[in-house]
Every structure is written in structure tokens, then in C-alpha cells.
């Protein structure tokens, strides 16, 4: 039901948004709330279509996803109205993707989400460059091709596509899964498949970048873990080496690249790539009982904070023309509320406690220690401490420098509501870990 409601709302919204964006937003938000209700009732897709399965962790992830998209809907302006419909389609596709229980649906829905993301980055052209959108499209197309190749190979080895029936000892399985993962790594922006992301995230409309880097990446992360879980625990030695290696190079390279950037959106883009690196640690540690909690926690924390920072940046870009770090000087005088939200979410990204970013890291990294990868975790923690350098550098510009000019802006009501929702999520999951653990562990 949730799926149908979201798709129907997505088709309905474009009728209204040209004339009256308020009605469009209301329809979208009520669709999100209604679909949350049906997910709660256990009628999202499971009862209606075959090939889907749902557990309490998936449900929690879906609630978080819908809440985040509702928060984004609140903060959009008329200029970004096409995003409303796209977000509704994205929500429908993501719910199906998260609930899918076989590889065929996984591949198809992965494509659907990819296509929505191309539209997302490409259709608002104003002061943003088309280059990022083109790069996202071409990299995405390559990734799709690679995944299809892997899937084709995989289909030789198996008689059933269901996750639980995965024939992990088949002839081509290792190669097939490796190729599929290579394609998925494009979407997860794992180094060295990250090249497109730094440009795409920083050059498209920042609200769209928030959805692309925050929402879609979290969803892909969680669904991929679910899909390949059986594989990961069957070949612990191979997966530990591969994922630990990619985790380390991704976070290290991205953090060092972020240190050099002057464009604020580029810093956030590289920070997003670094976070993919941290999120790979539960994959390496799949045999730990905490790996599932870790990946769920990371996806939840990341969706809130990453979406929030890009939405704030979107406001700042639109109202104050903020592009470079220099433009942030003395922001606390010009936009005090924005500054406060921005600072808290950046601290969360940096992993400062009482915010979701810390507990997510604490749980996800503990999974690594649990299987004996304490040295990988030490590298990851030192990386996240290094990352504090550029987050604090942004905060330094906001609070410790004097402004160049004195235009002041106030936050719009929609933005305020959206940011409050995201902040509530960041703080709630930063203090109370019980929900995530109840959903994943008995």
C-alpha cells in the first residue's frame, strides 16, 4: 500500500505544484505519513507483491527515510518544486528496494533509483553546472552496466534469486559478486570509483545533492548489506581483506582531499565519500553480531546529518550566495539559526558525542573490533579525528571570524521545521541507542 500511495502521490503532485506549492507539499507530506502508517501495519509491499520481505530493522530504516524526505519537503522553495515529485517516486522505489528479498528485484530497483537520481541532479539548472549531472549520469550508466554483467554471471550459478537461497559456493559466484559489488561501489562512492561524486555532489542543486548523498547512499548501503549478508559471512577472510582495504583507502584519501578544498560544497562532498569508508567497516566485520546494528545505525545517522548540512547549504547558497569557505566568515552574525544547525550537524559528522554521528561510529566500529580488526578501527578513528580538522575549520569561519558584509537573513518557517526534524533525529539517535538495537538484535 505504501508503495502505491507514494507513486500515486508522485503522479498527482505535478498537477498542483505549478500553481500552488503549498498543496503539493501537503499532498507529499500526507503521503509520507500515510505510508509510514501502512509500514507500521505491515502492509507496505509485503502483503501485496511476492518477492519482498520485511524485518524490524528495515521498518526502522523506512521510517527514518520517510521522515527525512518529509523534512526535505518542508524546506524546499518554489524553485525546487520538481524535487517533490521525484522524492515521492524515490521514496516508493527505496521502500521497495529495502524490502526486496531477491537479486532480480534488487537489480531492477537499483536501476530505478539510479534513474531517479539522474533526473534529480539534472533538472534544476540555474546557477549550477551541468557538468556534475553529466558525470553522475555517465558514472551511473557504467555502474549499471557493471552490475548487470555481474548479475548475468550470477544467474548462471543459481536456481533461485532469493537472498536466502544464494548459492554461495557456485562456480562463478565469487567473480559475479565481485563484479556486482564493483558496480555498487560506484553508487557508494568508494575510492577509486568516487571520481564522479565530488563533482556531482558539489555542482548540482544542494537540496538534490542532499538527497543524492544522504538519502540514496544510506538506502543503497543498508540494502546492499542485507542482500550480500550471506555471501559476506561465508567468505569472511576474503571480504575482510577487500572491505578493510577499500574502507581504509576511501576514508584516508577522501579526508586528505577534503582538507585541500576551498569550496564548501566540495568539502561536504569529500566528507560524504569519507563516510562511505567508515560505513564499509561493518561489511568487513559481517561475522560480528553487531555488524547489522552497525550498518543500520550508520545509515540512520548519516541520512539525518548529511541531508541536513546540504539543506542548510542550499539556503545559504540561495540567500547569501555562499560558495567558498571565505563566504562563511562571521556567518553567526548574518544567519544565527542556520549557523547553529550547521554547527551541530557538522559536529555530528565529525563524531562528537550526544549526536548520532558518534554512536553510529561507536557501534559500527565496535563490530570491527569484535572480529579482531582493531587496527582497522584505529585507522578509522584516527581518520575521523583528522576529519575534525576540516569540520572545525568550517566552524572556525562561522564563529571566530568577522563577516565581510552585513546582510542578515532569517530562516524560513519551512526550513526551520525541516531542520528541527532532522536535528531531532540526530540528537535522538545520539542519546538513545535502544531502538536500533531492539530492531536488529533479540
Amino acid at each position: 500500500m505504501s508503495f502505491i500511495i507514494l507513486i500515486a502521490a508522485g503522479l498527482l503532485v505535478p498537477v498542483f505544484y505549478r500553481n500552488n506549492i503549498i498543496i503539493a507539499k501537503l499532498i507529499a507530506i500526507s503521503a509520507f505519513i500515510l505510508s509510514m502508517f501502512f509500514i507500521y501495519q505491515g502492509q507496505s509491499l509485503v502483503g501485496l507483491f511476492p518477492g519482498f520481505a520485511v524485518d524490524s530493522a528495515t521498518k526502522l530504516m523506512e521510517y527514518v527515510l520517510l521522515v527525512t524526505l518529509a523534512a526535505v519537503t518542508f524546506s524546499l522553495t518554489g524553485f525546487e518544486r520538481p524535487l517533490i515529485a521525484q522524492m515521492l517516486f524515490l521514496a516508493g522505489a527505496s521502500i521497495a528496494f529495502l524490502e526486496s528479498a531477491n537479486f532480480f528485484l534488487f537489480i531492477v530497483l537499483f536501476e530505478v533509483i539510479a534513474i531517479i537520481s539522474y533526473i534529480l541532479v539534472a533538472n534544476i539548472r540555474n546557477f549550477y553546472n551541468a557538468e556534475g549531472a553529466i558525470k553522475a549520469f555517465i558514472a551511473g550508466a557504467v555502474a549499471s552496466g557493471v552490475i548487470l554483467l555481474g548479475f548475468a554471471l550470477y544467474s548462471f550459478t543459481t536456481t533461485s534469486f532469493a537472498y536466502i537461497d544464494m548459492n554461495v559456493h557456485g562456480k562463478f559466484t565469487l567473480i559475479a559478486v565481485a563484479i556486482m559489488l564493483a558496480g555498487i561501489f560506484y553508487k557508494l562512492t568508494v575510492v577509486p570509483m568516487h571520481g564522479w561524486a565530488a563533482d556531482a555532489y558539489s555542482q548540482v542543486n544542494h537540496a538534490a545533492a542532499g538527497i543524492l548523498s544522504g538519502v540514496i547512499k544510506s538506502v543503497v548501503l543498508f540494502a546492499t548489506f542485507k542482500a550480500f549478508y550471506k555471501f559476506l559471512i561465508t567468505y569472511p577472510f576474503a571480504t575482510v581483506l577487500i572491505f578493510a582495504f577499500f574502507a581504509i583507502i576511501t576514508m584516508t584519501l577522501a579526508n586528505f582531499m577534503a582538507l585541500w578544498q576551498k569550496r564548501i560544497s566540495k568539502i561536504l562532498a569529500y566528507s560524504s565519500i569519507a563516510h562511505s569508508g567508515y560505513a564499509l567497516i561493518p561489511f568487513a566485520a559481517a561475522t560480528s553480531i553487531y555488524s547489522y546494528s552497525g550498518i543500520l545505525y550508520y545509515a540512520i545517522a548519516y541520512i539525518f546529518m548529511q541531508t541536513s548540512v546540504f539543506l542548510i547549504l542550499n539556503d545559504l547558497r540561495r540567500e547569501l550566495g555562499v560558495k567558498y569557505l571565505e563566504d562563511l566568515k562571521g556567518l553567526y552574525k548574518k544567519a544565527p539559526i542556520h549557523s547553529l544547525f550547521f554547527t551541530i550537524q557538522l559536529f555530528s559528522l565529525a563524531g562528537i558525542p550526544l549526536l548520532a554521528g558518534f554512536l553510529a561510529k561507536a557501534v559500527a566500529f565496535y563490530a570491527g573490533v569484535d572480529v579482531g580488526l582493531w587496527w582497522v578501527v584505529l585507522i578509522a578513528l584516527l581518520n575521523s579525528a583528522l576529519a575534525v580538522a576540516y569540520y572545525v575549520w568550517i566552524i572556525k569561519h562561522i564563529y571566530m571570524d568577522e563577516p565581510n558584509n552585513f546582510e542578515t537573513i532569517s530562516i524560513s518557517t519551512g526550513s526551520l521545521i525541516g531542520q528541527l526534524i532532522l536535528l531531532a533525529g540526530t540528537i535522538y539517535f545520539g542519546i538513545i541507542g535502544a531502538d536500533v538495537f531492539n530492531a536488529t538484535l533479540p
Partner: protein
């Protein structure tokens, strides 16, 4: 319910204070003062409720049974000593920053700081301990970075990054503790035998050593202490460094006594190196606040020496010296900062003859200085004497070389008094106006009183120490 509120309420409360006092900023300090007095009274009431030995249980919150993650609040005599010290210093800090700029934000950050710092000393859950430990950095970053001196931003970011990076080593140590024992709670971990304690010990030691700071990890401190406003230097020296010593006692001595015994010579080595290295640097320094900062490091080195003895005497001496160091170094920092504020120079040889123009501040500077070098009748004497005695008992007569530390302190203190306070009056001092506000005078008087009071009557602190370390076989 009180216990968990006094940790979380200030964090929420600080934002409210900031927004509600925007029109009338001068009220913020009264709110802060009131709140810190309440904290002091609560800490005092816990002091009276403490059981003979063991823990006073304050509550369990936010439980996640699957991960052993739970905000367990319980305190013993050591925590209460730290809580009382913290609350007292916070109250005095309000007086010494009475006329600070941008008061609304300043005092809201101080209120915010009071939450996590209480949490650090109150919780026995290791993960929550780490969370509060990290959280204390955030208000400090802003307090140093916004209200500090010329190089404040460099110092603030260096302080934040440095302590954050070294805390990560500690965090891996905590992870390994949980992996091997299955508990995050200190009191439960203590009852479990550990398999690879050496790695855990070193990871945690590095984390605490950077905070303390111990010699090779100390470079953040001179920058942070010099660039911070004087009142914040007081908090850094009086409270944040104590977190390191507290952690060292709690996590190495109490948690893994056998491993600590094994590595005690290393700890002793680090402690001695810190004491002498920082002492010699202090002699060399012309910069008055840097001199005080190095003297602070040097005294913390003595604390490490005392902790490394692992005896009842040694730990009692360490606790006494921790409190003594906080009370002695604070007026030195305050007066150093105040002198810079009035004379606009940092260098002692450009000052001179301050005694004639500012006798009150000079007298307290000399008193605190004498306490730092260990003059009988002050806290410094009792602290250094007990540390030397306990070290000689534990390691033999040769360790009496640490008495030279007292000699080195005499070197830098007396020389700086000679250069800055006495001597011919320099033109800088001639021009300066040395008026001091009443709250500042009051706070300095309180420090002077406490230094002498506990110097003459050290028994209350040793009673607390007796309660805290009776498990080591005290009297």
C-alpha cells in the same frame, strides 16, 4: 532524578540562557553563578551521603542491554573530590570573568561545560565516560577560540585536534576492554581477568597522558593555556588536566593493577621526564603565562610519579597534589593574564616593580608562587613532601632526586618574582593602570585562603583520599 539532570540539563539550559539573555547579557553571569553554587551544594550533599567505602549509586538510565550501554551513575570518594573541586573552580571562574565581553555566550558555554565535566566524574560506564570526555572539548573550543588572545584560533584548533586524536587511542583501548570482558561498566570490568592487558594499557595510557599532559604529548598545552583567557586557563589547568589524572587512577591503577605494576617504571620515567623537562623550560621562559603553563606541566609530572607508586600513600599524595595544583596554579594564571591585560606585554623582563603599583595582586602572586615551590604552610609543601615520601618508600632513596623539582620551581618562581614583581619600575608598568575589580579581588582572596587553609590543615583532603584508596590497604 537529580543525578542525570545535572548532566543533561545544562546542555539544554545553556542554549536557553543564551537566547533569553540576548537583551540583558549581564544576567547570564548571575544565572551561571547560581547554577554552579547549586552544583557545589549537590556535590557537597553527595559527599555527606558517601558510604564508608565503595560506591554511592545514583541511578541507571538509557539502557541498551544488547550492547551493555547504559548511563550508570555512581560515585566514590575520588569522584566526589573531583566534583567538589570542579564546582568550586567554576564558581570562582564566574567571579574572575565578571567583566568578560559577550557575556551571554560566554556564560552559556560555561554552563554547557558544567554538564559533561560532571558526567565524566560521575559515570562508571566506560562508553559514556568517553562521550562526556569528548563533549567537554566543544565548549572549550569556543571559549578559547573566541575569547582568547592574538593566536587564539590556532591554539583552540590545536587543542581540540590534539586531544581528540589522542582520545581515539584511548577509545580503541575501551573497545578492547569491552570485547574481552563483555562489560562497559568499570566496576564489572574490574572483576574480570583480561587477556591482552599490555596493548589496552598502552592505548589508554597514551590517551590519558596527552590530556595530563605527559612529556612527549604536552605540546598542545602551552599554546592553549597561553592563548586562552585567564579564567579558561584556570579551567583547563584545574579541571581538564585533572581528567587525565583521574582517568589514570581509575583506568590503570584501579582497573588493571597488575599490568600497571608491570609498567610502573615506564610511568615513573614519563613522570620524571615531564617534571624536569617542563621545569627547565619554565626557567628558560620569559613569557609569564608560558612560565606558569610549564610550571603546571611540571607539577602534573609529580602527580604521575605519585600515581606510578601504586601505593596508598602515593595515590593519596596524588589526589592531594591534584587539588593543590588546581588551587595554586589558578591564581598564577589569573594574575599572569591580568598583568598582560594591564601592561600589554607578556614578557617578565619588560615588567618590573609591579609590587609598588599593585601590591594586592603581587602579594597573591608571591604567595601562590611560594606554594608552587613548596613553602611550608601552603598546599604545595604538603603535596610535594607526601609525593617524595611515598616515592622514596616505593622506589628507594635514589628517587629523592625529585626533590630537585622543588629546587627548579624555586628557580623559576623566585626569578620571575625578582624580574616582574620587584626590581626597578619599568616604563610599561609606570604607564599602566592597575585597578582590579572587586569580584576578581574576592576570587583571588578565596584562592589565597584555600592555599593556606589546606596547607595548614590537610586532613579533610586526606580523609577523602583515605576513603577513596582504602582498598589499597590504608590506615
Amino acid at each position: 532524578m537529580v543525578a542525570v539532570d545535572i548532566i543533561f540539563a545544562p546542555i539544554v539550559f545553556s542554549a536557553l540562557v543564551y537566547f533569553f539573555t540576548r537583551g540583558a547579557e549581564q544576567f547570564a553571569k548571575y544565572i551561571a553563578l547560581g547554577w554552579f553554587i547549586v552544583l557545589f551544594i549537590i556535590a557537597l550533599s553527595w559527599y555527606h551521603q558517601l558510604p564508608e567505602d565503595g560506591w554511592l549509586f545514583l541511578g541507571n538510565y538509557l539502557s541498551v542491554p544488547q550492547f551493555g550501554f547504559e548511563l550508570t551513575l555512581q560515585i566514590d570518594a575520588l569522584s566526589v573530590a573531583m566534583l567538589l573541586l570542579t564546582a568550586a573552580l567554576l564558581i570562582l571562574v564566574v567571579f574572575t570573568s565578571w567583566n568578560e565581553k559577550k557575556q551571554g555566550a560566554y556564560f552559556s558555554l560555561l554552563i554547557m561545560f558544567s554538564g559533561p565535566i560532571f558526567g565524566v566524574f560521575m559515570t562508571t560506564n566506560v562508553l559514556w565516560f568517553f562521550m562526556f570526555w569528548e563533549l567537554t572539548l566543544v565548549p572549550m573550543l569556543f571559549l578559547v577560540g573566541i575569547w582568547g588572545e592574538e593566536n587564539r584560533i590556532y591554539a583552540a584548533i590545536k587543542f581540540f585536534l590534539y586531544t581528540h586524536v589522542f582520545a581515539m587511542f584511548m577509545f580503541v583501548g575501551f573497545y578492547l576492554l569491552y570485547k574481552q570482558t563483555g562489560y562497559w561498566d568499570l566496576t564489572l570490568i574490574k572483576e574480570t581477568a583480561l587477556v591482552t592487558p599490555a596493548l589496552i594499557w598502552w592505548l589508554m595510557f597514551i590517551g590519558f597522558a596527552a590530556k595530563l599532559p605527559v612529556f612527549p604529548f604536552h605540546t598542545w598545552l602551552p599554546d592553549a593555556h597561553v592563548q586562552a583567557p585567564s579564567s579558561i586557563s584556570v579551567l583547563l589547568a584545574g579541571v581538564l588536566l585533572k581528567m587525565g589524572a583521574y582517568g589514570l587512577i581509575r583506568f590503570t591503577v584501579e582497573l588493571m593493577p597488575i599490568t600497571t605494576m608491570h609498567f610502573a617504571p615506564w610511568m615513573l620515567g614519563f613522570g620524571l621526564a615531564t617534571t624536569f623537562f617542563a621545569g627547565f623550560l619554565a626557567i628558560y621562559e620569559r613569557h609569564i603565562k608560558k612560565m606558569v603553563a610549564y610550571s603546571s606541566i611540571s607539577h602534573m609530572g609529580l602527580v604521575v610519579v605519585a600515581i606510578s607508586t601504586m601505593t596508598y600513600d602515593g595515590l593519596s599524595a596524588a589526589l592531594y597534589e591534584m587539588i593543590g595544583h588546581a588551587l595554586v596554579i589558578s591564581p598564577l594564571f589569573l594574575i599572569a593574564g591580568w598583568l598582560h591585560h594591564k601592561t600589554h606585554t607578556w614578557y617578565m623582563d619588560e615588567m618590573g616593580g609591579i609590587m609598588k603599583k599593585a601590591p594586592y595582586a603581587s602579594a597573591i602572586f608571591i604567595l601562590a608562587g611560594m606554594a608552587a615551590l613548596g613553602l611550608p604552610g601552603t598546599m604545595g609543601f604538603v603535596g610535594e613532601l607526601t609525593i617524595i615520601i611515598s616515592a622514596v618508600k616505593a622506589y628507594g632513596w635514589w628517587i629523592a632526586v625529585i626533590a630537585l623539582a622543588g629546587l627548579i620551581s624555586a628557580g623559576y618562581i623566585i626569578w620571575s618574582v625578582r624580574r616582574a614583581i620587584h626590581g626597578p619600575m619599568s616604563p610599561v608598568v609606570e604607564k599602566a593602570d592597575f585597578s582590579m575589580s572587586l569580584p576578581e579581588k574576592f576570587a583571588l582572596a578565596v584562592y589565597a585562603f584555600l592555599i593556606v587553609y589546606f596547607g595548614v590543615n590537610p586532613q579533610p583532603i586526606f580523609d577523602l583520599a583515605n576513603q577513596a584508596f582504602s582498598w589499597l590497604g590504608g590506615m
